[in-house]
C-alpha cells in the first residue's frame, strides 16, 4: 500500500507533463489527490482497527508491513502515518483550490496580479506535474525508515517545489526561488554531513542508518559523535523547517509563491522537515541524550517565536505576515518536542492544527490578492464591503491561528505551556507567553485593519465576485480546526498518542 501511495502521485506527475489538455490534466490532479487521501485514510484506519498492531507499537517496535527481519525502506510507524495524514488532507484541499485557481489564471494570462508587473505564468503542465511529484516526495519523507533515504526525499521536496514557487514568472518570484533553492540545498547538505556523523557514531556497533536498528542499538552509539550528528541534522532540517535564524528563505518563498503553493509549503513541507528532526531526536532520546537535544529544540524554538514576534510588528505584506506566523508555530512545535512528556502531544496537535489553519489562511489570502491586486496591508481596507465571505474567513482564520478558543491551536499552545510550567521552566513559560502576546497584538492590527474600515474603490475597480471554489477548502479546514479544539476523535487521539510515544513523549 505504501508503494502505491508513492507510485500513484509519481506516475500521475509524470503523466501530467505529457497531457496537453487542461481539463484532463486538472482532473488527473484532483483524482490523484482524492485517491491518495483515500489510501491514507485506509492506512490510518488499518492502524486504528488493528489493536494487536498498536500493542506492538507501544513496545517500541514500529509498525511495518514487510516481514520482520527484512529491512524495509519504507513503512509507516504511527508518527509517519500522522504526518502523511496531515500532508494528504492538505493536498486534497490544495488540489481542489488549485483546479479553480488554474482555471481562473488561464482566463487572464499575463494579468497584473500584483499591480506592478506584467508577467506570464509557468506552463500548467510543469506546475501540475511538479505538484504531484512533490506529493510523491513528501509521502516518501514520511514513510522513510532509513536516514539516508529520508535525506534524499527531503532534498527531492526542495527541488520539486522550486518550480512551484516560480509559477508567476517575474523577478521577485525568481529571487525567492533562487534563495529557497540555494539556502535549502546548502542546509540539507549539512544534514547529509549529520547523517555521516550518525553513521560514524554507530560504526562499531554496525547500526548503519536504518532507523529501527539505530533505535534498538541507541545505547551503544558513540555519544559525542551522536551529538555532532544531531547538531548537523538539526541545522540542516531546521533550515528547511524555517526555525530562526535559518529561516531567511521562508518569508520570501511564501510571499512570492502562488497561494496554493504557499499553503503546501507551510502546511506540509515544514512538517516534513520537522519529522526529520523528530526522527533523529528519537534516536538521541533513546541514547539518553534527551536533555541535550531537548535544550537545543527549546532554545531555537523560543528564538523562532521571538523572531516572528519582532518581524510581525511593522509588517507590511500580509503574505509575509502569514509566513512569519508559520515560523512562530514551528517554534511552538519545536518547544513542545523539546520539552518532551505531554508537550509532545501538544506539538503534534499544534502541527496538525497549524497546517490546516495556515493552509486555509493562505487560500484566503490568494482570494484577497485576486480581489485587491496587492499584497500591501496598507492598501487593503474594508474587505468586508468588497468581499464579505472572504473577509469573514480571513477574520475567522485570524482567531483560529492566534489560538483563540475553541481553536485546536489554543489547546496545543496550552498543553505546551502547561508542560513548561509543570517542569518548572518558569522563565521559558513567561517568555513564551510574552512573545505570543506580542504576536497576537501584531496580527490583530493587520487583520482588523484589513477587514474593517472604509473601502476606497480604486479607479478601475470592478465589482468582485467571490470564487466559491477557492473559498470552500479554506472554510472546510477552519471547520476541522474548530472541531479539533472541541473534540479529538478517539482514533486520532490514539494515533497521536502512539506517534508521541514514537518520539519519547508520554500521555
Amino acid at each position: 500500500m505504501i508503494m502505491l501511495m508513492m507510485l500513484l502521485p509519481l506516475a500521475a506527475g509524470a503523466l501530467a507533463f505529457m497531457i496537453t489538455g487542461d481539463r484532463p490534466r486538472r482532473a488527473l490532479l484532483l483524482w490523484t489527490a482524492r485517491l491518495h487521501s483515500l489510501l491514507t485514510a485506509l492506512a490510518v484506519w488499518d492502524h486504528a482497527a488493528g489493536g494487536a498492531v498498536s500493542g506492538f507499537i507501544s513496545g517500541g517496535a514500529p509498525f511495518r508491513t514487510a516481514p520482520p527481519g527484512a529491512a524495509a525502506w519504507f513503512s509507516f510507524d504511527p508518527l509517519g502515518l500522522f504526518f502523511i495524514a496531515i500532508t494528504s488532507s492538505l493536498f486534497l484541499g490544495a488540489s481542489h483550490y488549485a483546479v479553480s485557481y488554474l482555471a481562473a489564471e488561464k482566463l487572464g494570462p499575463g494579468e497584473k496580479a500584483d499591480g506592478a508587473f506584467v508577467f506570464n505564468n509557468e506552463p500548467e503542465t510543469v506546475f501540475t506535474g511538479c505538484l504531484l511529484l512533490f506529493l510523491a516526495a513528501m509521502t516518501a519523507v514520511t514513510a522513510s525508515r532509513h536516514m539516508g533515504m529520508l535525506w534524499a526525499s527531503v532534498e527531492a521536496t526542495t527541488l520539486l517545489s522550486a518550480p512551484l514557487i516560480y509559477f508567476h514568472r517575474h523577478k521577485r518570484s525568481l529571487e525567492a526561488t533562487w534563495k529557497y533553492l540555494l539556502i535549502c540545498s546548502v542546509g540539507i547538505a549539512l544534514a547529509l554531513m549529520g547523517n555521516l556523523f550518525l553513521g560514524a557514531a554507530g560504526l562499531k556497533t554496525g547500526a548503519g542508518l536504518d532507523l529501527d536498528t539505530l533505535l534498538i542499538k541507541a545505547a551503544l552509539l558513540n555519544k559525542p559523535l551522536l551529538k555532532a550528528a544531531f547538531l548537523f541534522l538539526f541545522v540542516g532540517y531546521g533550515t528547511k523547517m524555517g526555525l530562526s535564524p535559518f529561516h531567511t528563505w521562508l518569508p520570501d518563498a511564501h510571499s512570492e509563491a502562488p497561494a496554493v503553493v504557499s499553503a503546501l509549503l507551510s502546511g506540509a513541507l515544514l512538517n516534513c522537515a520537522f519529522l526529520g528532526i523528530l526522527r533523529v531526536n528519537a534516536v538521541c532520546a533513546a541514547a539518553g541524550l534527551a536533555d541535550f537535544t531537548g535544550g537545543i529544540l527549546v532554545l531555537f524554538g523560543l528564538f523562532s517565536i521571538l523572531t516572528a514576534a519582532l518581524f510581525m510588528l511593522g509588517q507590511r505584506d500580509y503574505k509575509r505576515m502569514l509566513a512569519y506566523s508559520s515560523i512562530e508555530h514551528m517554534g511552538i512545535v519545536a518547544i513542545g518536542a523539546g520539552l518532551g512528556g505531554a508537550a509532545v502531544f501538544g506539538a503534534l496537535l499544534g502541527a496538525l492544527c497549524h497546517s490546516l489553519t495556515k493552509a486555509g489562511l493562505f487560500f484566503t489570502s490568494g482570494v484577497i490578492l485576486a480581489a485587491e491586486k496587492t499584497k500591501r496591508i496598507a492598501d487593503v481596507r474594508g474587505l468586508w464591503r468588497r468581499a464579505p465571505s472572504t473577509a469573514a474567513l480571513w477574520l475567522g482564520g485570524f482567531f483560529l491561528i492566534t489560538g483563540t478558543p475553541p481553536s485546536g491551536i489554543f489547546l496545543a499552545k496550552f498543553i505546551v505551556l502547561r508542560e513548561a510550567v509543570s517542569l518548572k521552566h518558569y522563565g521559558l513559560a513567561a517568555a513564551y507567553l510574552a512573545f505570543l502576546a506580542i504576536l497576537f497584538a501584531g496580527m490583530t492590527r493587520v487583520f482588523i485593519s484589513m477587514t474593517f474600515g472604509e473601502h476606497t474603490p480604486k479607479p478601475d475597480e470592478k465589482p468582485f465576485e467571490e470564487p466559491a471554489g477557492l473559498l470552500a477548502p479554506a472554510a472546510f479546514f477552519f471547520g476541522c480546526v474548530i472541531l479539533l479544539g472541541l473534540y479529538i476523535p478517539g482514533w486520532l487521539a490514539e494515533l497521536m498518542r502512539a506517534a508521541a510515544q514514537n518520539i519519547g513523549g508520554k500521555l
Binding site: W73, A116, H146, G148, M149, W151, A152, S153, E155, A156, T158, L159, A162, P163, Y166, R169, H170, K171, R172, L174, E175, A176, T177, W178, K179, L181, L182, S185, V186, A189, L192, M193, N195, L196, F197, G199, A200, L203, K204, G208, L209, N222, P224, L225, A228, P251, D252, S255, E256, F311, Q315, R316, D317, R320, R376
Partner: protein, 221 residues
C-alpha cells in the same frame, strides 16, 4: 596505494586554495570538476570495504557526473548568461586565501579533536572539512549565481570525502538517490541561472535584494 591516496588528498587541498584565488569563471568550473573527479576515484585507491565492481561502477557514475555533465551544464549557463567572465569576489583574493588557510588550520584542529575512527589515509578528515569551508567561502563571498552553485558542489565534494573518511557505508540505493538529487539540484539551479540572466540581464545575486523586511526594496521606495 595509500601514498597515492594521500597525494590525492594534498591535491584536493591545493585545489581548495586555487579556488579561493582563481578569478576566471571557466577555470573555477574546471577546478571544481577536477576536484569532483579526483574525489570520485579516491575510494578505488583507498581500496577498502565495498566489493570492487560496485566501487568501480560508482566511481564511473561520479566521474561522469562531476567531470563531464556538471561542467557542461555550468559552462552552458555561463555562456548563455553573457555574464562577465570573472568571479567578482566581494573580498580580495589575498583575504580569500587567508580565510581558506585559516579554515584548513581550524579543520586540522577539529579533525584531531573529533572522536572519529582511525583513518588509514592521513589528512583526509581535515581536507574534507576544509573543502566544505571553501564551499561556504565561495557561496558567501562571490556574487554570481554560478559561483554559488560551484560553492554548493565544492561542499558536496567535501562531504563526499568526509563520508569516505568515516567509512560510512550507505546502501547502493541511498547513494544513487543522493547522486540523483545532486544532479537534479545542479540542473534546476542551471535553469534558474538562465532565468535570472534573462530577467535581470545579469547573474549577480547581490542585485537579488528586492525581497526584504527592511526599508529597501519594493515597499521602501
Amino acid at each position: 596505494m595509500h601514498t597515492f591516496a594521500e597525494l590525492i588528498i594534498v591535491f584536493v587541498i591545493l585545489m581548495d586554495l586555487a579556488l579561493a584565488v582563481t578569478g576566471s569563471l571557466s577555470t573555477c568550473i574546471k577546478l571544481v570538476a577536477l576536484q569532483g573527479v579526483v574525489a570520485g576515484v579516491l575510494p578505488l585507491l583507498a581500496g577498502h570495504g565495498a566489493p570492487y565492481v560496485r566501487a568501480a561502477l560508482f566511481a564511473a557514475v561520479i566521474v561522469t557526473l562531476k567531470g563531464a555533465v556538471f561542467p557542461w551544464l555550468l559552462m552552458r549557463a555561463r555562456d548563455k548568461s553573457g555574464a562577465r567572465k570573472d568571479v567578482e569576489p566581494l573580498i580580495s583574493y589575498p583575504a580569500s586565501i587567508m580565510l581558506c588557510l585559516g579554515a584548513f588550520i581550524a579543520s586540522s584542529w577539529m579533525g584531531s579533536r573529533l572522536p572519529l575512527p582511525e583513518t588509514e589515509v592521513a589528512w583526509i578528515v581535515p581536507a574534507s572539512l576544509a573543502t566544505v569551508f571553501t564551499g561556504f567561502l565561495l557561496i558567501t563571498t562571490r556574487t554570481k549565481a554560478i559561483t554559488q552553485v560551484l560553492g554548493y558542489l565544492v561542499i558536496e565534494n567535501g562531504i563526499y570525502i568526509f563520508g569516505l573518511a568515516l567509512f560510512v557505508e550507505q546502501p547502493m540505493m541511498v547513494e544513487l538517490a543522493i547522486l540523483l538529487d545532486v544532479f537534479v539540484a545542479v540542473f534546476v539551479m542551471g535553469i534558474a541561472i538562465f532565468h535570472i540572466s534573462r530577467e535581470f540581464d545579469h547573474i549577480d545575486t547581490a542585485e537579488l535584494s528586492e525581497l526584504s523586511d527592511w526599508r529597501r526594496g519594493e515597499y521602501g521606495k
